[in-house]
Symmetry: C2
Subunit: 191 residues, 2 copies
């Protein structure tokens, strides 16, 4: 998506070999007009799917998911990161390893809000190693629901998560795929 | 706001004397059409203010703030809850006591995104003791910016936060003000 790639080139900050800061428009300060255009693009890509729910994960996925949900006319459900033991029976849960924070945590959603009738679009801001996305996919599958696909803002295509998940048969649509990035040479996107 | 009050009466769950669960439409599963109506109401209330930025706090404020921001045509900035020491000089920070979780934490925003020129609308889902809201107000004031006011979805008017903050001269507009609630007798709103 050219609009997002241009914005990343203009306002994204590359630090070292694999940190891309987009906190001026995506995950600290948020440009809601950009989010609306991203939502329209996912709607175009998934127009043949009868999506019933959008699933994301706190915190930085929530804004993107809510504005995308307006395009689909469906509710958002956000998975919570939990440091406590899960409440037996009331939630679906998955373990997620965070490479950024160097620890594992549980993500949970209430069973009330994911059912076997759901056709779920999963939305998140970043895809790198794919840990969070695999956790979200597991939550949907544990509920007996269908994963219609994933909508990612920025995929670090030089990390393995996206391709690994596509190989399992899950559709992944990333609006910007970073092939390489470098503090001096800038950011190269895939075609 | 009648639409929100009706929804709380219909889908809110009162537990004990002071827990009101609205996780089916506001802070776990999210009804984005309801959020759009809430955003329009805050826009009506603050139409005479030239708002430049909406400030909220992760996680459950983000969706509400993003959809409200579409009405105002301004960016959202969300404060992060930090358990690590703040990065000296780069952030504004405030301490917030969480009664729900029984501990104190820091909230932070990057200095880059709040300036003395900003006229800020602060948005959050709940107002009870007012701890989070006081922290957000401090971040704005530390930046030399102006607090235009606060937009709250649900105020527990039987707890002191809202009135304490209004007494300091800060405008607080809560769309639903709960006067009392009881598992058996239901929820009473203020007029």
């Amino acid at each position: 998506m050219k609009l997002l790639e241009d914005r990343i080139r203009k306002d994204g900050i590359v630090i070292g070999a694999d940190i891309l800061k987009v906190d001026s428009f995506l995950n600290h300060q948020i440009d809601v007009e950009l989010l609306a255009e991203m939502g329209k693009e996912w709607k175009r890509l998934y127009q043949d799917e009868k999506i019933t729910k959008i699933l994301t994960i706190e915190a930085s996925g929530i804004g993107i998911a809510c504005i995308a949900a307006q395009q689909f006319g469906v509710p958002v459900l956000f998975a919570k990161k939990s440091k406590t033991k899960n409440i037996a029976g009331e939630v679906y849960t998955a373990k997620v390893m965070s490479f950024t924070h160097g620890r594992e945590y549980d993500i949970i959603v209430s069973r009330k809000f994911l059912t076997a009738d759901d056709n779920v679009l999963i939305i998140d801001d970043f895809l790198a190693n794919g840990e969070a996305l695999r956790g979200l996919i597991k939550l949907v599958q544990d509920a007996g629901a269908r994963v219609a696909g994933c909508g990612i803002a920025i995929e670090k295509a030089f990390q393995p998560g996206g391709d690994q998940i596509r190989k399992t048969g899950v559709r992944v649509e990333s609006l910007a795929r970073v092939l390489s990035m470098d503090e001096n040479e800038g950011i190269v996107f895939t075609d």
